[in-house]
Amino acid sequence: MDIAYILLLLLAPFAGFLFNVFFGKKLGHNGAGYLATFAVFVSFLVTHFYFVQINQTAQPVTVKLFDWIQLGKFSIDFGIVLDQLSLLWLMFVTGIGSLIHLYSVSYMHDDENRHKFFAYLNLFIFFMVTLVTGSNLLVMFIGWEGVGLCSYLLIGFWYKNQDYNDAAKKAFIMNRIGDLGFLIGIFLLGHLFGTLDYAALKSAIMSGAEVDHTMLALAALALFIGACGKSAQIPLYTWLPDAMAGPTPVSALIHAATMVTAGIFMITRLNFLFGISSADMQTVNMVIAIVGAFTALVAATIGLVQNDIKKVLAYSTVSQLGLMFLALGLGAYEVAVFHVITHAFFKACLFLGSGSVIHAMHGEQDMRNMGGLKKWMSVTYITFLISSLAISGIPPFSGFFSKDEILMTAFHENKALWVIASLASIMTAFYMFRLLYLTFFKEFRGTDEQKHHLHESPALITFPLIVLAILATVGGLISLPGNSWLSHYLEPIIAYGGHSEHHLDATAYMLMGLAVVGGLIGIGIAYAKYLKKGEVPPADAQMTGFHKLLYHKYYVDEVYDALFVKPINAISTFLRDTFESALSGLVFGLGKATNAIGDSGKMLHNGSIGRYLFAFTLGVVAIITYLFFNKIV
């Protein structure tokens, strides 16, 4: 019975994908969209069924579908495991997924390739489900690469624009760099333990078998590189802002709520590995925490000055992901998971809200050309405001609880990281409200024609916004400080007793207060700068100094370009034009040498029979001499 349900869970989106690919165009105007939504919703229902079940039984469901790859030491089967962690992820992947599908029906209604869009979205859900539910690392890798593929397809959805295609390609390749790390991690683990199955790995590690701990730490580091690629951490984060080239629902679904959290999922899934208390592993964890903290800070600083509404959100996403990795590095897995969930709610809401704005503005994304939209788009405005408050960490919205947990953990573990994280979250509050003020307040700064068309988005768009806003508001309830349902729920997953819950003592309250004050400071600065003074960010050409540096994202793209892309291309050109022909010349030079020898040999063969005859007789004499006299001489 389980198999049937699980296949339904897995294959419903896949069936939706196939159907939309082949018949999507014939399904009428919105048919493809509704079909896709329905497919994801089916998955959501199945997930819900299991979610309820596991809450009662606490027994994970494991199904082996078939043997997949055999290696000398072990074989890898295509198995599915539905435990607390994967179900939790499935809940918001399929749940938010359904909402965004629904949203897209309206958002994409006038695109000629709608059916493909929905096909890709469904395919994405399918791979995401595979990623989350796989019972071993390699099945996860299927999903891992699959979602990368869908990300590629969707970023480059408007394929006529080569810039978008470049962005898509960049995303795929950067992800692939991470994927190589992931693969190396898989190899090392497979080599060490002879299995890739989570349960088997866990029991092997927990049983304290003699293994090379340095190798283990290396494996963890390699896996972390994989996570860096997928979850956009330094140094592999630059693809995510570019990925905003895709349609906005894609940004919401893939590049904010689900796919980019795959790295966190993977590390949480392997917490029995990352949580080992060896010196090497602690170094790895430190690396993770530092990378996370710096990513949070760097992305936040870049986010401060961006003018593209989606770019701001993209950097905000990178920054928030950094915070999650900080938590992971500090061993607070359930805190990271908590932030993943709340972040999924409010960031999806923010992206969908920005999509609603862009929709109203007919594709305009530059905030300098917006303003005063509150008047026309009240639902969008309110949901946006709620989500902004949530991400800024203002109580009682969900973001407050999750972010506070991270800061608190950081404070207890490492004060320097706490300072960095706090700075990042102050900046977050600032740029979110900068975004809000520039977009929704003051006078409209766009063209008259745009103004003429301004309107609130239809119900299909606002409905998901409202649902997500509600979730962003109350999402914090799942893990209230001091009484965390989430920690309790994830207990079987966390191998090392979990992160000790913070007591609600004076320090804790002080930290909460500090966080809130920090958030308010950020909001206050934004208020003073953009609402009171009514500043508008300067045009690109007028930027100077540090502002310009930030606006150009520290020129990281350019540096990467100069360090990696250009040299490789230059080497390629050199090899193609010079080296290949030289090599070819070398090999075929042998032929030429033979020719030259032949040419000189030609002198002998001048066609004169007389000379041939001489040679012949001499030869005969020589042969006879050899035959008869060699024994004597």
Binding site: G610, F614, T617, L618, V621, I624, T625, F628, F629, I632
Partner: protein, 171 residues
């Protein structure tokens, strides 16, 4: 010195001399005539061996058929002139050296191989009369014999084909 040996010496002298003259004479016609003499003297050698049949056949084939062919060719080409240019001096010298070299090597080979000891076989059995030869030829060597006929036929056809004027020449 017995009579036979004397005859042998005279014949050998003729043979060698005419062979040399064949080569040194400038006029091809003369060469051909010397060659005929040479062949006849070789037939004389055969007679010395009491191989009459062979001697006859030799004269018929060589002096008769082959030499006629040569003569005809020479006449056909109207080569009866002393217009042949000598080869370069070096070449001629080299030819001489090779002549000596070949002789020495071959002689050395024959001397080296098997010294002849004692008197020669004399079984008294008839081995070279026409009758015996015919039997050997048509029993043991039946197949090669037939092939020889095929060979001659082919050679004849080949010769005819080769010496026929090509049609393209007319065009």
């Amino acid at each position: 010195m017995s009579t036979v040996l004397l005859i042998f010496c005279i014949l050998s002298a003729i043979t060698l001399a005419t062979a040399f003259l064949t080569i040194f004479t400038k006029q091809p016609i003369h060469s051909a005539i010397y060659l005929v003499l040479c062949f006849v003297s070789v037939a004389g050698h055969y007679l010395l061996f009491n191989a009459q049949f062979l001697a006859v056949v030799h004269i018929i084939v060589y002096s008769g058929a082959i030499m006629i062919l040569f003569l005809f060719t020479v006449m056909l080409m109207n080569l009866n002139k002393e217009d042949e240019v000598h080869k370069p001096r070096v070449t001629r010298l080299a030819a001489g050296i090779i002549f000596i070299l070949t002789s020495l090597v071959l002689l050395a080979v024959f001397i080296q191989t098997k010294p002849i000891v004692g008197p020669y076989d004399e079984t008294g059995v008839d081995y070279q009369s026409i009758k015996v030869l015919g039997q050997v030829l048509l029993n043991e060597y039946m197949v090669p014999f037939e092939f020889a006929s095929v060979l001659l036929l082919v050679a004849m056809i080949g010769a005819v084909l080769l010496s026929k004027r090509e049609k393209t020449e007319k065009n």
